[in-house]
Symmetry: C3
Amino acid sequence: MKEQRRSILKKIFTSAAGVVGLGVVANAKSDAAPEKEVFNVVKDDQDVPLFSGSTKFGNLVFVAGKGAHFDGDITAHTLHVLDELEKELVKAGSSMKKVLKVSVFLHDLNDYKAMNEAYKGKFGDKPPVRTTVAVYGGVPGDSLVEMDCIAYI
Amino acid sequence: MKEQRRSILKKIFTSAAGVVGLGVVANAKSDAAPEKEVFNVVKDDQDVPLFSGSTKFGNLVFVAGKGAHFDGDITAHTLHVLDELEKELVKAGSSMKKVLKVSVFLHDLNDYKAMNEAYKGKFGDKPPVRTTVAVYGGVPGDSLVEMDCIAYI
Amino acid sequence: MKEQRRSILKKIFTSAAGVVGLGVVANAKSDAAPEKEVFNVVKDDQDVPLFSGSTKFGNLVFVAGKGAHFDGDITAHTLHVLDELEKELVKAGSSMKKVLKVSVFLHDLNDYKAMNEAYKGKFGDKPPVRTTVAVYGGVPGDSLVEMDCIAYI
């Protein structure tokens, strides 16, 4: 059943990934009320905006949920997802040390300990808060873990 | 099993919906430290506050998780939920274009693609970040999808 | 099956709990760009920072996901989790009345109504927004409910 689920997910995600595009949109105006900036906008095949890789408003940065869409164990997937978060953070002018809050969605709660091993220490001496739950087949794209975060610049 | 789950959920939610009331509470003071404002407070049948439809603090707006509590497919439910989010945003002085972050909880990950089709383009050219997972029976009130968001004014 | 899952979770969490340490780190500088403050840092047995109990940035406070790791029903677990949130809020200089957003992850959606009964009224007359889903075995540490929050000071 779990295998079947994951196969279905892989199909869905592959399909979705096929319509992904990248773009950078917009800059905040400094002479007026603050506006959001967005980075790495994902669009569908008709160029319709779907979501952004990150959004910035004032000195806050919001990063999209990231997964690992390749064959690998929880360690590899966790490290990849953290790397994806870091890329977005740097692009938006933030860093891993400036993360305030992380949400972690595991495919399987049995991966909790191994996720922790790969996760610890990655955000410096003043780590963000974290909320972790498992969703048993609910992470898109066959990823063993999905994470998003809120940070500052 | 899934059907059974959804029947139970429908019962729970119907029960909960029976005790819902609406109200608008509070305004921020402009001459002191910022205070939160809240909109569309949901109370129980003894008038005890449960949660708000949105909260506003400074120029940030937080919108409660919204579901679709009627018979319908993922397209209808997604469109309804987005409409509910928009109502809250407008009431709080924000808009779909000012959303920074969306969280999406699907009932079934197989609805991912159809959710995307209904979702895309609804937040303008600079879309919010998004995190999507499925919770397989975990969305209250028999809804196929629940979404919340963080925005600005 | 559910029982089996919960037994596994208990083992995982007990193991994780064994490496938990507490610490308070850092103060914001008032004469420069705002920095985050963190409280109740959880570290592993080699003193590597894992996550914080709360983070503070400007006048925003982020509290980590809290669970109830003892035998008890949803009422006891909900009250405990709310109490844990309150402790973090007070430590960071905030309070239950200053919470803007709560995320609730139930072990079982059948606990929705009883969770509400224990939850209502705990945040004052201007309650935070709330997003609730169930994750059926996905809450770490055998807790029937996990909650996090965003607040202000």
